[in-house]
Symmetry: C2
Subunit: 334 residues, 2 copies
C-alpha cells in the first residue's frame, strides 16, 4: 500500500456539471462572519498559529455563506464558530497528530464529552471545552430541546468517530471498506451541519418526516458525497504527510479492488457522480410539491452539497506541491 | 500503589441508616422480568456463560423492581433489558478485558455509535449492536423525541467514558481525582437510569425544571453516590483481579491523600454519607409541595439511590474470597 509516487499531481476527479452546476449562490455575510470569527478566536485561542487561523477563518466564513446563503447573520456566525471549532479540534488534536498517541485524543474528547453531558467538569487542558460550552449554551438558547439534542448527538458521534479514526489511521489496511463508509460521515462533520441547518434556518422536521424513505435516501447521499469529495480533495496532502497511506476512500478502494491510485480515483469519482445523481433526484422529488418543511430541508441539503464541492477549490486543499484532484467542472473558478 | 494485602476482607463502609433507611420497596414484577430477560438473551446471546447469564439476570430483574417499584411490567422489562445490555457490554468488552486492548473496545463502541446514529451499518462482530438497535426502536416508540434523545445521549456518553476508562485502567496513577469524579457517573450508568426514569414512569421535566438548582444538586448527589457506592462494593473483587490497583475511588483517594486502604475507605464512606445527606435534603425540599412532575422526579431518584444501595448486597459483589465493604446498615438483609 505504500510506494505511491508523491509527484503525481493530477488525478481524475468527479464531474458535477450535470448534477450540481455552478455558479453556487453565496450569502452576503462572509466578511462580517470573518471579523466575528477572528474576535471569537481571541476569546478562545484554539489555533496557535496566525497563519492557520487566517486560512481556517477564511475558508470557514466563505464556506458557511455558501452552506446557508439565506441565513441571518447572527445564526450564521454561531454556525461558523461551531464549524471552525470542529475543524480546529480535528486539525490540532485528531488527524495526523493522534497517530502516535490515540490515548491523548481520548483524554481531549473525554473533556468534551463532560461538557456535552452538562455536569461538573475538572479543569481542562485546552480552550476547546470552554469554547464548546459557550457554543452549546448559545445553540440551546436558540432552539427547542429536540433540535438541540440532535445537534449535540452529532457532535458526540463525531468525537467517537475521531477516536475510532485515531486508532486506525496508522494501519488503514486493517479497516474494511464497509466500516470506513459507515464511519466517514461522522468524521467529515456532515451530520452536525445537517442538524445545524434546522436551527440556523429555523425549521424542524417531524420524526415521521425524518423517517421518510426519500428523506433518508437524500441524507445518506449527501453524507456520502461530503466525505468522498473531501477524501479526493485532501488525498495528496495526506499522502505527503506519510509514511503510511491515508485512511481515505482511495486507499480503501485500492485495498478492496486492487489497481493504481488513478484507478481508485476513477472509481471514487464514479461513486461520487452516482451519489450526486441520487441526491439531485431526491432534491427534485422533495421540492416538486408546494413549499413545505420538506422542500426547505431539501434546498438546505442542496446548498450543503454545493458548499462541500466549493470547499475543494479553496487554498486549504491547494497548497503548493500538494495539488488535489483535477478541477471539478461544476465548481466556481476560484 | 501496589502491594495492598488482598486478604483484607472487612473495610469500613458508609452508613445510610439515617438518610436511606431500609427496608426498600420492591415492585411485584421481578419474576416476570427474570423470565423475559432470559427469553431476550436467547434472541440476543450477549453472555456466553450460563452462569454469568444467571447471575446478571437475577441481579438485574430484582434490582429494577427496586429502581422503579411502581413501573408497569412492559416498560420495566424494556428498562431491564437496557440495563442488562449495558452491564453485559461492560463486563465482556470493557472493564478488565479492555486493559490490554483498548483499540478493540474502540471498535466495539464504534459499532454501537453507528447504531445510535441511525444510518447504514456494516456487519457487526457481536450481538450487541443488533440488541441495541432493538432496544432503541422500542424506547423510541414509547416516548417523545427529546426524551428519547436524552436517553441516547446518556448511552453515547457512557460509551465514551468506557473508552476513556479503558485507556487509563492500566495506569490509574495518571488520573486525577477531579477527572475521575467527573467521569464516574458515566461509567456507572446512572445517567441512563435517570434518563430512563422519565420514559419508564411516564413523566417529563421541562428544560427549565431540569435547570433548577435544587434539581441539579439532587441529580449530582445521586450520580456521585451511585458511582462511589459501587466503587466501595466492588473494590476487593477488582483488587483480586490484579495486578494494578483498580481505577476506583479508594485508589484515587490514596493517591491524593496518602494513607492506608482503610483510611481511603473511611474517607470515601464519609463522602458517601455527606452526599446521601445532600440527596435526602434535596428529596425533602422537592417533595414538600403538592404532587407535581418535580415530586415524581425526586421520588424516582430516591428509589434509584435505594436500588444502588441494595445492589451492593447482591452475590455479584459478594463472591467467596472477594467480600466487599462491611455490610451497610441501611440496606435490607439479603
Amino acid at each position: 500500500m505504500t510506494g505511491t509516487d508523491p509527484t503525481v499531481t493530477t488525478l481524475p476527479g468527479p464531474d458535477f456539471a450535470a448534477t450540481f452546476p455552478g455558479p453556487f449562490p453565496a450569502g452576503p455575510h462572509s466578511e462580517h462572519t470573518e471579523r466575528r470569527l477572528l474576535g471569537w478566536l481571541e476569546e478562545y485561542p484554539l489555533l496557535p498559529s496566525a497563519k492557520a487561523r487566517g486560512v481556517l477563518v477564511n475558508i470557514t466564513s466563505h464556506g458557511v455563506s455558501r452552506t446557508f446563503p439565506t441565513a441571518d447573520p447572527d445564526r450564521l456566525v454561531l454556525f461558523a464558530e461551531l464549524l471552525l471549532w470542529l475543524t480546529a479540534f480535528d486539525d490540532i488534536h485528531a488527524e495526523a497528530n493522534a497517530v502516535g498517541d490515540p490515548a491523548a485524543l481520548v483524554d481531549r474528547t473525554g473533556e468534551l464529552m463532560l461538557v456535552l453531558a452538562g455536569g461538573d467538569r475538572p479543569p481542562a487542558s485546552t480552550p476547546f471545552p470552554a469554547a464548546l460550552h459557550d457554543l452549546l449554551a448559545r445553540f440551546r438558547a436558540r432552539t427547542g430541546p429536540a433540535a438541540y439534542l440532535r445537534l449535540a448527538a452529532s457532535l458526540r458521534d463525531t468525537l467517537m468517530a475521531l477516536v475510532w479514526e485515531a486508532h486506525h489511521v496508522a494501519r488503514p489496511e486493517e479497516v474494511t471498506l464497509a466500516t470506513y463508509l459507515a464511519m466517514r460521515p461522522h468524521t467529515v462533520f456532515i451530520r452536525t451541519i445537517t442538524a445545524a441547518a434546522e436551527i440556523v434556518l429555523g425549521y424542524e422536521l417531524t420524526d415521521a418526516q425524518r423517517d421518510l424513505a426519500p428523506v433518508r435516501r437524500l441524507e445518506t447521499a449527501v453524507s456520502n458525497l461530503a466525505g468522498w469529495i473531501n477524501d479526493l480533495a485532501s488525498y495528496q496532502r495526506e499522502v505527503a504527510r506519510g509514511p503510511v497511506q491515508p485512511l481515505s476512500l482511495p486507499t480503501l478502494l485500492r485495498a478492496r479492488h486492487g489497481g493504481t491510485v488513478e484507478d481508485a480515483f476513477a472509481r471514487a469519482s464514479t461513486m461520487c457522480e452516482n451519489e450526486a445523481a441520487t441526491a439531485r433526484q431526491g432534491i427534485t422529488d422533495l421540492t416538486r410539491d408546494r413549499p413545505s418543511t420538506l422542500t426547505t430541508h431539501a434546498r438546505a441539503l442542496e446548498d450543503i452539497i454545493r458548499s462541500f464541492i466549493w470547499h475543494t477549490g479553496h487554498a486549504r486543499y491547494q497548497e503548493p506541491g500538494r495539488r488535489a484532484a483535477a478541477p471539478i467542472p461544476g465548481r466556481p473558478g476560484r
